[in-house]
């Protein structure tokens, strides 16, 4: 047994702003970004070995809960981070797309592992060669399967995105164009 006490950080740094006696002023987008960052609700879409690694990530050893993602949403309507862990066959593709379109904005997509990112070793007639063929992806986690630490790294990348992006980013014409290129109406 290690006699190290667990260190719990409760003082996440405040966003940039103006501080004075009794007040603190900052941009709304910073506050909302911070709120979103620490309350990502993942929707696990797990099909194979990467899914098992994702389950390990949720276990007490790796403890995904400390990111504010205590609750895994199994309904797309309440989730904002789609974790696609594992091989997606072409037949499953429309299902995944349906799940993605049912999620409310803002939403982020993490492709966990080689299969979700690029089809992996399955360069074959039945396997979708990367989920970015059907939905836009924000973060790719490499590995086959990736270790929980790598999935956590991917989640932290999404956190960085959620924190820094403008709350209006998803109203921008570029984003509309991206969704249009995937034939997804918003």
């Amino acid at each position: 047994m290690s006699d190290k006490k667990p260190v719990i950080i409760t003082d996440a740094p405040a966003p940039e702003g103006y501080e004075g006696e009794g007040f603190f002023a900052t941009k709304l987008s910073s506050v909302i970004g911070m709120a979103r960052k620490f309350s990502l609700w993942p929707l696990p879409f797990a099909t194979s070995c990467c899914g098992i690694e994702f389950m390990a990530t949720l276990n007490p050893t790796y403890d995904a809960s400390r990111f504010g993602m205590e609750r895994n949403s199994f309904s797309p309507r309440q989730a904002d981070m789609l974790m696609v862990c594992g091989t997606i066959s072409k037949k499953l593709g429309p299902v995944l797309k349906e799940v993605y379109t049912q999620m409310a904005e803002p939403k982020w997509v993490v492709a966990v592992g080689a299969c979700a990112s690029s089809g992996g070793i399955f360069d074959t007639y039945s396997v979708l060669q990367g989920i970015d063929k059907i939905i836009p992806v924000d973060v790719y986690v490499p590995g086959c399967p990736p270790r929980p630490e790598q999935i956590i790294e991917g989640v932290m990348q999404v956190q960085a995105l959620a924190e820094s992006e403008s709350i209006r980013r998803r109203d921008m014409p570029e984003y509309q164009k991206l969704l249009d290129s995937y034939n997804i109406s918003n």
Binding site: K90, G93, S118, D123, T124, Y125, S126, V127, Q129
Partner: protein, 164 residues
């Protein structure tokens, strides 16, 4: 029930239908005429042989033998005596139609759909012959050795790294 006994029963009932027979690894394997397959299986099921369980249906494809290019293999099982038999039929490419066994064994339904999906073998009398495992709009039968088994849409793979 021995291999000899069952083979003799089949040859007695259908002397014209048996093309060849062998016993690889002790399992009776009979190649029969395609047209008589359903009759033979009906006989195996309903006679005193009581071969009452259809274990498996699967297609095979030999592009190098044009006169017997596409085949279907049937595995059958007698649950009471633990007797197994394998039946094979072969056909050419212009005539890929076989009688469906769905009237004899309900379990043939999905197996025949799978065989149709992967080999394009049509089963006459099947109630719902659609692709079952592949997506509906795939447009070809993957296990026929005529199509790329690799995905043609791949853009990020360098063939030289995979020994091709």
């Amino acid at each position: 029930m021995t291999n000899e006994f069952v083979l003799e029963a089949i040859t007695r009932e259908f002397p014209e239908s048996v093309i060849s027979s062998s016993e690889p690894y002790g399992m009776l394997t009979v190649e029969v005429k395609k047209e008589d397959l359903k009759k033979i299986i009906h006989y195996l099921k309903d006679s005193s042989l009581e071969i009452n369980f259809l274990t498996d249906i699967c297609g095979i494809h030999y592009p190098e033998f044009p006169d017997r290019e596409i085949g279907v293999v049937y595995h059958l099982h007698n649950m009471m005596t633990n007797f197994r038999i394998r039946l094979k039929i072969f056909m050419t490419r212009d005539d890929v139609e076989v009688d469906s066994l769905t009237e004899l064994y309900a379990g043939a339904n999905w197996m025949e759909r799978e065989t149709f999906d992967f080999f394009g073998i049509k089963f006459k009398g099947h109630p719902d012959l659609r692709p079952i495992l592949n997506m509906e709009d795939l447009g070809y039968h993957p296990m026929l050795k005529e199509y790329r088994l690799e995905d043609g849409t791949r853009t990020d793979k360098n063939d030289s790294m995979f020994g091709r």
